[in-house]
């Protein structure tokens, strides 16, 4: 079983919809939770990160972490066609684990105009 499981998608939504992307994990040592966005034939770029449980909001994006359930989510409000990409969740343990991140397999999102 993988340490990080991500809803595989693909996901297709109309412009303006609210999108929910989710990951579960099994390693309780994970403390840092990240979401990356990857456009086709590009490297991933960091969208948001959170430390431990709670919510973090950045514009149209909200990252949510529930450590008790080992479940993280990324919400995208008022989705735009430019949000069409693959979204990867990633997690890492505390200092001392070299910041090495464990990634989910990604969810491909298409936002239709």
């Amino acid at each position: 079983q993988k340490e990080v499981e991500q809803d595989p998608g693909p996901l297709s939504v109309p412009e303006g919809a609210i999108v929910s992307l989710n990951c579960t994990y099994s390693n309780s040592a994970f403390q840092y939770f990240m979401w990356y966005r990857q456009y086709s034939r590009k490297g991933p770029e960091l969208l948001m990160y959170t430390y431990s449980s709670g919510n973090k909001e950045d514009g149209r994006f909200t990252a949510q972490v529930d450590k008790s359930s080992k479940y993280i989510s990324l919400f995208i409000r008022d989705s735009q066609p430019s949000d069409s990409a693959t979204y990867l969740c990633a997690m890492s343990a505390l200092y001392g684990n070299a910041g090495k991140s464990t990634f989910g397999d990604g969810t491909t999102l298409t936002v239709k105009p």
Binding site: V4, Q6, Y32, R41, K42, G43, P44, E45, L46, Y49, Y51, L88, A90, S92, Y95, G96, A98, G99, K100, S101, T102, F103, G104, D105, G106
Partner: protein, 116 residues
């Protein structure tokens, strides 16, 4: 400023040949990471460098894979006697330092390797 660059962008090789993939990290970044991304999959950690040393080689799939970093800058990932299952996108990332509170990794565009 310049981001992480990788070369070549695409590499097609025949089974059994050796290949070298290059990564130029962001200037001043001491940490450098190599990942592999197979089609439709997430990123698989291969190796990381802190400066020129590689404390964690646990992700290298086999002894055909090796990596080095010189001058705390450029890194080369070498795959010997390539196999078809080595076909993937190889991504390099760099960050300011290993073990920082949040290790924000900046990724290059990747090298797409195809082994025929």
């Amino acid at each position: 400023g310049a981001g992480v660059s990788q070369s070549p962008s695409n590499k097609v090789t025949e089974k059994g040949k050796d290949v070298e993939l290059r990564c130029d990290p962001i200037s001043g970044h001491t940490a450098l990471y190599w990942y592999r991304q197979s089609l439709g999959q997430g990123l698989e950690f291969l190796i990381y460098f802190q400066g020129n040393s590689a404390p964690d080689k646990s992700g290298l799939p086999s002894d055909r894979f090796s990596a080095e970093r010189t001058g705390g800058s450029v890194s080369t990932l070498t795959i010997q006697r390539t196999q078809q299952e080595d076909s993937a996108v190889y991504l390099c990332a760099s960050s300011t330092q290993v073990g920082a509170t949040i290790d924000t990794q900046y990724f290059g565009p990747g090298t797409r390797l195809t082994v025929l």
